[in-house]
């Protein structure tokens, strides 16, 4: 269960203090796939960042699986993210100096998986994302869609309880984007992960179990 209470986030910018999130409260049961949607600049990324612990809110709480993540120390938060969270960003997700295999294995090594478990899991995921023979390929040798599939595999590799994807289809064509989200949701459901995805693509919203509509930093509907 993910419980968000009265979340408020402000940024200082050239235009003065900008309120990105205003008192958002939300509950998401474990294993749900949720699409957070809204126009550009509505606060989707900020909400996901606050839920994922990448950004600290000015007010409010994010309780992930019983842990108020913003009350954790920086180190404990990192260790929590390492174990329980997976992230997919818009683009440029992969570590350029690691090959596909090493990229997917990265969170497994961080979580002290054995060599055998690591190899088995990466091979399994490579097969699932349709890149069976591409383990040794470098990121720059992949297409945009392939890169995002590898990013999904890496985010899900250590079976996190929460999978956060911030507009993962933004740089992809519709068909590739849709198949990527299907893959993301399938892998999430398979691992019983809660999947939060931000998008403004209606086709993708329909693929999710639930939708969260954000407008001007406020929750306006589900």
């Amino acid at each position: 269960m993910i419980k968000i209470e009265n979340l408020t986030k402000e940024f200082r910018s050239g235009r003065g203090q900008v309120r990105a999130l205003s008192g958002i409260s939300l509950e998401l049961p474990q294993g749900v796939t949720a699409a957070i949607y809204g126009k550009s600049g509505s606060g989707k990324t900020t909400l996901l960042n606050c839920i994922g612990g990448l950004e600290r809110p000015e007010a409010g709480k994010v309780v992930c699986f019983g842990n108020d993540i913003h009350s954790l120390t920086s180190r404990d938060l990192s260790l929590f993210q390492r174990k329980h969270m997976g992230f997919v960003f818009q683009q440029g997700n992969l570590l350029s100096y690691l090959n596909v295999f090493e990229n997917i294995a990265f969170p497994l090594v961080l979580n002290n998986a054995s060599k055998q478990d690591k190899e088995n899991r990466v091979k399994e995921l490579l097969e699932k994302i349709g890149l069976k023979g591409a383990g040794k390929a470098m990121p720059q040798e992949l297409s945009g869609g392939e890169m995002q599939r590898v990013a999904v595999a890496r985010a899900i590799a250590h079976c996190p309880k929460l999978l956060i994807a911030d507009e993962p289809t933004a740089s992809l064509d519709t068909a590739t984007g849709t198949s990527l989200v299907e893959l993301l949701f399938d892998l999430g459901r398979e691992g019983k992960s809660t999947v939060l995805l931000s998008t403004h693509d209606e086709d993708i919203i329909r693929l999710a179990d639930t939708g969260v509509h954000i407008k001007d930093g406020r929750l306006v509907g589900r």
């Binding site: 990192s78 390492r82 969270m85 100096y97 690691l98 470098m138």
Partner: protein, 389 residues
């Protein structure tokens, strides 16, 4: 567990360096060339110091001087491991007379064969030839000029009032460029010296790399009495100071060069980090802690530094080895310098100082240079990094 984690970060850092080969190459070349050049320069500094000592002690004085040695102590008694040769000398102050002119000198009685073997004074002969047995004298150029004497002339040496004078034939004239030798010292075979003192002076010449202090310690243990052995460092404090100054200057140069190089490395590495900034943000999002991130960057810099330093040591040592075999002739720049009176050829030499100081300073500065980029990455929030990258 800690070793396993460290192994993972070392592997990750190595992959980062290997697969960012162009940037790694450029940064490594900066470090490598600085280390190699500074090893060579440090070795040159050591070689120059060696040459100054070699020139100064081999001309006349030896590495160790022994004063007021009794007849009971023989030159053979001073020979031990590390001692190349011992010259026995008698010092008699007096005046030399020629054609009505008079010059005060110290007549030094020597064994010509030993002197030929141990010293380089004979190489400084400008007229005539070096001493032979018998009543001959080897005069400094300034003394000979004052007396109007030249090789083959007869001169009179008088040790003082009511002392026996002797007639000596000028065998040759020398010019060292060392004022006190050229102006106030004359040499004769011991057998010709008129006053037979019961005490003698020793000039002890050592093998390369032997420290005078260690031999003096041996002498002091061997002879119950302190005969006043002194090293060249005590007798030539100006030279000692010059050598110390040379080392200090070289150390300052090394520190300054690496200060500048490390600023370059820090700047270049920060650009390197900024180029990959988003990746560091993604790693943070994956749960890499600030400590691990700092360690990763420091390991990256340390590995690059170690490899570049190692290659720099190999290249610098190789260049020094080649130069030490052939020598670098700086006679044109040293010919009027008293500390290079015998030879101006420099043989660069590797020592612990010349070999280890440049890479050590490079490594320390390299690590300091990694603090800036490490701080940039580890203190920023993942969201900030992802936003600006």
């Amino acid at each position: 567990m800690i070793l396993k984690e460290l192994g993972f970060w070392i592997k990750t850092a190595s992959l980062f360096l290997i697969r960012s080969r162009r940037s790694t190459f450029v940064l490594s070349i900066m470090i490598l060339s600085s280390v190699a050049v500074l090893i060579f320069l440090s070795s040159m500094a050591v070689g120059i110091n060696d040459a100054m000592v070699r020139n100064s002690v081999s001309l006349y004085s030896g590495h160790i001087s022994g004063f007021s040695l009794p007849e009971g102590v023989k030159p053979e008694d001073l020979k031990s491991e590390g001692v190349k040769g011992v010259s026995r000398r008698l010092h008699v102050p007096g005046v030399i007379l020629h054609k009505g002119k008079m010059e005060p000198v110290t007549l030094v009685g020597v064994e010509p064969k030993d002197e030929l073997q141990n010293t380089a004074l004979w190489k400084k002969t400008v007229k005539g030839e070096y001493l032979k047995q018998g009543n001959s004298v080897f005069l400094g150029e300034a003394v000979a000029e004052e007396l109007g004497a030249t090789a083959g002339d007869k001169v009179i040496f008088s040790p003082g009032f009511n002392q026996k004078t002797i007639e000596l034939t000028v065998s040759g004239i020398y010019k060292t460029g060392v004022n006190y030798l050229d102006r106030s010292v004359a040499f004769s075979p011991n057998e010709a010296v008129p006053v037979k003192s019961s005490e003698w002076q020793a000039a002890v010449f050592l093998d390369d790399g032997i420290r005078p202090d260690s031999i003096i310690k041996v002498y002091n243990e061997k002879f119950s009495k302190d005969y006043g052995f002194k090293s060249w460092g005590e007798l030539m404090p100006d030279l000692k100071q010059l050598i110390d100054l040379n080392y200090v200057s070289m150390t300052i140069v090394i520190v300054l060069v690496f200060g500048v190089v490390s600023l370059g490395i820090a700047g270049a590495f920060s650009i390197f980090i900024f180029k990959h900034l988003k990746e560091y943000g993604i790693m943070k999002a994956m749960g890499v802690t600030s400590g691990e991130m700092t360690a990763l960057i420091i390991i990256e810099v340390a590995i690059m530094n170690l490899i570049a330093c190692f290659l720099g040591i190999v290249i610098g040592a190789l260049a020094t080895y080649i130069a030490s075999g052939i020598g670098i002739d700086l006679t044109e720049f040293t010919s009027h310098n008293q500390y290079f009176s015998v030879s101006g050829i420099i043989y660069p030499r590797l020592t612990f100082y010349s070999l280890c100081l440049p890479p050590l300073v490079s490594f320390i500065f390299g690590l300091l240079a990694s603090i800036w980029p490490a701080a940039i990455v580890s203190h920023r929030k993942a969201a900030d990094i992802l936003r600006i990258a």
